[in-house]
């Protein structure tokens, strides 16, 4: 018989003993789902990675304002276009007491390339990691990669000795799950400010402060209790009832309710995720439309007509409670490569829209289906319905086909041959850099080269591809920005996409709790200060 309560009490006492003089401060928070695994290379997904930042650390990291800052590396320099030298922080301890050395960095890189790893693309940017001395490594990339320091914010450093001892030298993939390499998905040994004291996947995870952490952190939290709560209403109720210190996301419709409740408030801010509409521009005939024998979206005038028919400010006011940022660019301001001068939304002008449709030969309008997720982005289905209503005014009859994200992506994704005529999608580049946006959404789709995988409408302008290739490798910031701007100019002139807005972050916090609300929707416990 094992009494978890007693065990907990024992752990709590020891934790207190380790942090002399500090009050026990427990931070309780909830998200809508749980991290899939503790394996830091098992899944490249925002929440899982953010969750793991509590226990694992990376060479480089983002602060609360998304500035790139040193973490396990103290400094870095580019010694040749393809070689970066990273100086590792000295005196860093893993949770089991091991020291961080150059060998751990090399091991981590090799692990990201193992079969079960979901960081193979990032690991693959690197052609070699060389040990210079115990606390210095040279990282060589296959081609010049100006974004390397940003990409590395997603690669958590693991302990070579620990992994070897516990048969965890390969990342655990769903295919090999449980049969092998499972140790690292259920146990951790990071260098982060907290250790995992107890974990029941999908139920509860308890973190304890790691007393040998190298940093002098802002947070006064000594214990973290994380609970996934899937229902929005339950999550909000748990915050208002005072049981939790922070919950996210909360529906924007609930902001008033949270703010009017004693002791809680809604925390909103701009997210780096851009929401946009895409159009099938490659099929000769649309799959879901009344137009037969041709594809109206191949005509730039039709695409422009759609752009001018959608009132972004109305969507902001009516659907997003004034909290979105209407956008004319497929990039959020927080993304490296953003250009304020190019961020001009297409003007709302239904008359112009009608004229363009008439010129293109669709004066009587036509009908088509808009695919839309209903549980992926903030008010995603409502945005689609609003857009459909606006398009109806210029004679385009839009049927909104909203589905849960699993079904939606199964339908429209490239793996299913982009079975859609028009769709709503949102994008935050994992590297927080423009190159990722160009390569995934804007260049012509090339499955062999892994380009344009999320360009579901297969917009294609041959002039952009060489520019994107240069952007990927250009190290001079001014030249790079000029290239980026030229690519987005072409895209805007083509009306390749219909950008809508950057959606708001929507968290709920207890009064007195301060936290940095990062634009990538990551909760970094390092920034949490309890009253």
């Amino acid at each position: 018989m094992q009494f978890r309560k007693i065990l907990l009490a024992a752990v709590a006492t020891t934790a207190l003993a380790f942090v002399p003089g500090a009050d026990a401060k427990t931070f309780r928070y909830a998200f809508q789902g749980d991290a899939q695994s503790l394996d830091p290379h098992g899944l490249n997904e925002t929440f899982t990675l953010g969750f793991l930042s509590t226990v694992y650390e990376t060479l480089t990291a983002y602060d609360g304002d998304m500035n790139l800052v040193p973490q396990l590396a103290t400094s870095w320099e580019v010694t040749s276009p393809t070689v970066w030298r990273f100086n590792l922080r000295k005196g860093v301890k893993f949770h089991d007491g091991g020291d961080l050395t150059a060998d751990d960095v090399i091991f981590t890189w090799k692990r990201t390339l193992t079969e079960g790893s979901d960081q193979k693309v990032r690991g693959g940017l690197i052609s070699d990691v060389r040990k210079v001395d115990e606390h210095t490594v040279d990282i060589e990339t296959a081609t010049p990669t100006p974004t390397l320091a940003r990409e590395l914010t997603n690669i958590y450093i693991m302990d070579k000795e620990w992994a070897e001892k516990n048969d965890a030298v390969e990342a655990a993939s769903p295919k090999t799950a449980g049969r092998e390499n499972a140790y690292a998905s259920q146990n951790e040994n990071g260098t982060g400010p907290f250790t995992v004291a107890e974990r029941e996947p999908d139920v509860k995870t308890i973190f304890k402060r790691f007393d040998k952490h190298w940093g002098n952190l802002k947070t006064n939290v000594t214990e973290v209790i994380f609970t996934p709560i899937s229902q929005d209403a339950t999550r909000v109720a748990a915050l208002i009832s005072g049981e939790l210190d922070l919950v996210y996301p909360v529906p924007v419709q609930d902001w008033d309710r949270i703010n009017s409740a004693p002791g809680a408030k809604a925390l909103a801010g701009p997210e780096a995720r851009t929401i946009f509409l895409g159009m099938d521009q490659w099929r000769d005939e649309l799959l879901y439309s009344s137009v037969k024998g041709k594809n109206p979206f191949k005509d730039a005038r039709v695409r422009a007509a759609f752009a001018h028919a959608i009132d972004l400010d109305a969507i902001k006011a009516k659907v997003m409670r004034g909290a979105s940022t209407p956008s004319g660019l497929m990039l959020a301001p927080q993304i490296a490569g953003y250009s304020k001068d190019l961020n001009n939304p297409y003007a709302y002008d239904p008359d112009k829209s009608k004229k363009l449709l008439a010129e293109a030969g669709y004066g009587d309008g036509f009908s088509l289906t808009l695919d839309c997720p209903n549980n992926r982005y903030v008010n995603d289905e409502k945005i689609c319905q609003a857009a459909a209503g606006m398009l109806a005014k210029v004679g385009i009859k839009v049927d909104v086909f909203a589905q849960p994200k699993s079904k939606y992506f199964a339908k429209v994704s490239t793996q299913n041959d982009n079975d859609t005529s028009m769709y709503l999608l949102g994008w935050t580049p994992g590297s927080m850099d423009v190159s990722n946006v160009l390569d995934n959404l804007i260049v012509c789709m090339d499955k062999e080269a892994n380009k344009g995988q999320f360009n579901y409408g297969r917009y294609c302008n041959e002039k952009i591809t060489p520019i994107a290739n240069q952007v990927r490798e250009e190290t001079d910031p001014a030249k790079r920005q000029a290239l980026v701007d030229s690519a987005f100019k072409i895209l805007q002139d083509d009306v390749g996409y219909l950008p809508l807005h950057q959606q708001p972050l929507s968290w709920g916090v207890r009064d007195g709790v301060t936290v940095a609300q990062r634009a990538d929707n990551v909760l970094d416990i390092r920034s949490v200060v309890l009253p």
């Binding site: 018989m1 490249n44 769903p174 029941e200 709560i229 899937s230 005072g242 699993s406 793996q415 499955k447």
Partner: protein
Amino acid sequence: MIAFIIRRLLQSVAVMLVVGLIAFSLFRYVGNPVDNLVGQDTTLEERIALKEGLGLNDPFFVQFGRFVVNATQGDFGFSYRHRRPVEYLIAERMPATLELSAVAALMALLIGIPMGVYTGLRRDGVLSKVFMALSLIGVSLPTFLIGILLILLFGVVLRWLPTFGRGEVVDIGWWSTGLLTTSGIKALLMPAFTLALFQMTLIMRLVRSEMLEVLRTDYIKFARARGLSNRAINFGHALKNTLVPVITITGLQLGSIIAFAIITESVFQWPGMGLLFIQAISEVDIPVMAAYLCMIAFFFVVINLIVDLLYYAVDPRLRVDVGSRGGLG
């Protein structure tokens, strides 16, 4: 008797096969699990390889056949999401659901039967009218709404009870129970009541109408003529004779309680099998969905079997029947 039980168990295998078959034919429409298993930077090539590796490109009958062959060996596969064997996950979650269901069923019986008897005996009493009105609410309001209303009242406004979760649990061997801690019991109250409410009103109405029926029969009049006390008549004779349909309904409803705990569990974030199933649906975790559906089918078969056996205990006529007819159910 034994032949009867064995035959029913064999039937349960057929039922589970059919449920599995239907389930597998539906899995093609739930989405592509690969989208949930990799991040956005993963290449198309890898996605295709992963789908192939998980056997999702095989024809439907091959997938189903593989599932059946493995399941007969006690291997239900690995959860895509948790990356652990499905049977472990279900075993971990089962105590939470069974505790919730058992407490809900008990609540339904212990409150529903006395209310039914009372409303049956005092048809025109004010309290009876109140009970009947309340029971209409219980039957007609959807479970999730009742759950949310309870959370608002007892969790947010009064702050007496926790709004989510199971509280502190104590492990006894492989079973985890929340019944031994105060926070566990407090956490159990709202979900159990939410789950019980529909059954409670159903049982109450059933007992009431059966009571009204039985109280009109000749043997009750005869018992009164014999001068038996009201108590003996109402509970010894009348109530006992209303119990056969009550047992049937309660038994069948127990299966529904376990199966429909899904909604209550997701409203209260109760970490049981239903929540596991809901999460499996949203993440397209096919092995978990398949195992859960087959297990629920098995529960229903077993519960029906127990109900049939209970008839013998309650109704002596059936026992004679069985002897003469050689165990037909």
